[in-house]
Amino acid sequence: MWLPIQINEQSAEPLYYQIEVQLRALIVSGQLEEGVLLPSIRELAQLLKCSVITVRRVYQDLENEGLLRTKQGTGTYVARIEQNAMDRYRLDAVTEGLEAAIDAGKLVQCTREELMKLFQAVLDRKFGG
């Protein structure tokens, strides 16, 4: 099974983190539906050219978050996710994006007011307001 996960080897983010973020996004966005059987640990490691230690860690973390469940002997499946958990994860990604944008502003010494104005302008442009 193929998964649209892209690895950036040059990134400062650890590999397990890169995979975790993308796999989580695939699940909470509904691209991987409840009950879908994920590749085995060795298969995903082969696909992403990473070690099974990394993949095991990703599956373990997402299982702890309630996004995956493992059935002994059969494999790892996408778990049933409650709607409010889905919403929270949905907003998590947006919050992360906004934080990155504000960090970029602070790097070039933007003031709070400047950022507010920029935010409003981009908002207007995107929503055609």
């Binding site: 080897e9 400062a12 650890p14 060795r42 082969q46 990473c50 070690s51 099974v52 230690i53």
Partner: protein, 302 residues
């Protein structure tokens, strides 16, 4: 405690022109461990020691939980598949299937269907005399032979030498599938960067008969980075303080290139010192090996 498929404790082998060890190495069960090192670093000797084909002068070696050179060790060895780097010429006159007939007697778990399937996958005709086979064909035949009894442990010495790119891909795929059940182990020696990248879970660096360290692959590649920093922000003297630094050079365009083997700590240090990293680059396996070899050379000289 993790289960080890192979363990070597304080093993030494002394030869007039070479000393191996003392080696301390534990090969965890259920994983692919790749030994990486330049020619003559002692990789093949290590395999031969593990299989009790040569005796160490000192130390303790365990294979699948059994101390080697214990009696009845054929039972332990029937659970091992060993692909040597070079094949002895004494069976060159044999047709491949005759060798198969002989070899399979020693393995209770021999599976003729598996053997035929592997020959088909690798496109090998076992009616050919071994001496007449091309290097790649011979390698593929021997690979089929060591995989046909579902060994618990595979020892592969330069498995891909002589293989064309297509056969190489088939081999990688076969080895991944072999590992699928989760309780099998591969210990391989390789200097093919891409092969180690695709297969290994753990990487062992071996230089001049010494084990320089065992690393989880992704952690290794996540730790060895080169940072490019504008020269006005960092002096050579200051760069010496960067955690894990092991190489500082002018990179042109006023940039300084600093190599670190502790990338996360080095990054935190840069932030603390107010140094902006313009660009970063993950080191490749051969870059890392080159640095380790150089460090080892310096150590031997001093």
């Amino acid at each position: 405690m993790t289960d080890n498929a192979v363990s070597l404790a304080e093993v030494e082998l002394r030869r007039p022109h070479f000393q191996l060890g003392p080696i301390h190495l534990e090969v965890p069960k259920g994983y692919v461990t790749a030994i990486v090192g330049p020619n003559g670093s002692g990789k093949s000797s290590t395999f031969r020691l593990i299989l009790d084909l040569i005796k160490p002068d000192k130390g303790d070696i365990k294979l699948l939980g059994q101390r080697s050179s214990s009696e009845e060790d054929w039972q332990t060895k029937s659970k091992v598949g060993y692909l040597p780097e070079l094949f002895s010429p004494h069976d060159d006159k044999l047709r491949a299937f005759s060798k198969t007939e002989f070899v399979k007697k020693w393995y209770p778990a021999w599976d003729v269907n598996r053997y035929q399937e592997l020959l088909r996958l690798f496109e090998v005709d076992d009616g050919i005399r071994l001496g007449k086979m091309s290097k790649g064909m011979r390698r593929k035949y021997e690979l089929a032979l060591v995989l046909s009894h579902y060994p618990e442990l595979l020892l592969l010495d330069e498995p891909s030498s002589g293989l064309d790119p297509l056969a190489w891909r088939t081999m990688i795929d076969v080895l991944h599938r072999y590992m699928e059940p989760g309780d099998r182990t591969i210990l391989m020696a390789s200097h093919i960067v891409e092969e180690v990248k695709r297969l290994a879970d753990y990487i062992v660096f071996m230089v001049h008969g010494r084990v320089l360290g065992v690393y989880e692959k992704d952690e290794l590649f996540g730790s060895w980075h080169a940072f490019y920093v504008p020269g006005e922000q960092i002096s050579r003297k200051l760069a010496q303080e960067m955690p894990g630094h092991c190489g500082i050079e002018e990179a042109g365009g006023g940039m300084i290139r600093v190599i670190t083997r502790m990338a996360p700590a080095a990054e935190a240090w840069c932030e603390q010192e107010g140094i902006a990293i313009s660009h970063r680059q993950a080191l490749q396996l051969d870059d890392i090996l080159a640095i380790l070899v150089e460090q080892e050379r310096m150590r031997l000289r001093s």
